[in-house]
């Protein structure tokens, strides 16, 4: 699957006017909770991130009870934070005929700057990834080890964790 890089404007600190466009590997990532709720998030593809991280404010929307899940601390650019892990389904689509869904256990945490991080565990570990900045293209090619799941489609359908 090939995705264009997303233009991200940066603004001047003094004038707050746009001065530069950055090209970032941001892709729509579809998330399905066990309750069947589907939510698409803009996720930064980040080879330096250990896990797929989603905002913890989504936990209720996916039907996860407060205090449930496996919790552990982690450190990143934003400092130390607590991450709660839950099993969900993920899906990416380059176009309607080119998509893939899989089972993953991902972290939920307080995130800043980006809505979601598409890191290694649960995400990039299942893909051959290429970044072509010159042509402004991101390539994500599924590996045979990916734990395939049923497509994440509306209307909302609950599913069982394998």
């Amino acid at each position: 699957m090939i995705f264009p890089l997303l233009d991200t404007p940066l603004t001047n600190a003094q004038t707050n006017t746009p001065i530069r466009i950055r090209f970032r590997p941001l892709i729509p990532l579809r998330v399905a909770g066990p309750n069947g709720r589907l939510i698409d998030l803009e996720a930064l593809v980040d080879t330096g991130a250990d896990e797929v991280l989603l905002p913890d404010t989504l936990l209720p929307a996916f039907g996860f009870a407060s205090g449930s899940g496996i919790t552990r601390g982690t450190s990143g650019i934003g400092g130390r934070t607590t991450v709660v892990f839950h099993p969900i389904r993920l899906e990416i689509r380059a176009n309607p005929n080119d998509r893939i869904a899989w089972h993953a256990t991902v972290g939920f945490a307080k995130l800043s700057l980006h809505v979601a991080m598409f890191g290694l565990a649960g995400g990039l570990e299942f893909f051959h990834t290429t970044l072509n900045v010159i042509d402004r293209q991101l390539g994500l090619f599924p590996h045979p080890t990916i734990p395939l799941a049923a497509p994440c489609v509306s209307p909302h359908v609950a599913f069982s964790v394998p």
Partner: protein, 92 residues
């Protein structure tokens, strides 16, 4: 959802459109042509979508960082291109 269409359309929007939503969580239409809702937090954004649109409405949640957020001289940064026709990337 067609991610290629979504990103291409997002890239064709004027930067000034995004600046209207600085510091907000936003819900993009799945074709990437417009923002259909905005809020200060993700739960509020989802509640707004659920209140305004039919069940099953698809959208993409994103965040527009609050400016100003470029604090270094642009020429010291690798990558990216100056904004706008004729721009030379220097700090006004």
């Amino acid at each position: 959802m067609n991610a290629n269409e979504y990103i291409r359309n997002r890239n064709s929007l004027p930067t000034e459109y995004l600046l209207l939503y600085q510091g907000k969580y936003v819900a993009w239409a799945t074709d990437g042509k417009k923002i259909i809702a905005d809020a200060d937090g993700i739960p509020e954004l989802i509640a707004a979508i659920d209140a305004q649109y039919p069940v099953g409405t698809e959208f993409v949640i994103s965040y527009v960082p609050a400016g100003p957020y470029e604090e270094r001289e642009p020429d010291s940064l690798a990558g990216g291109t100056p904004f706008g026709p004729g721009a030379n990337g220097t700090t006004p």
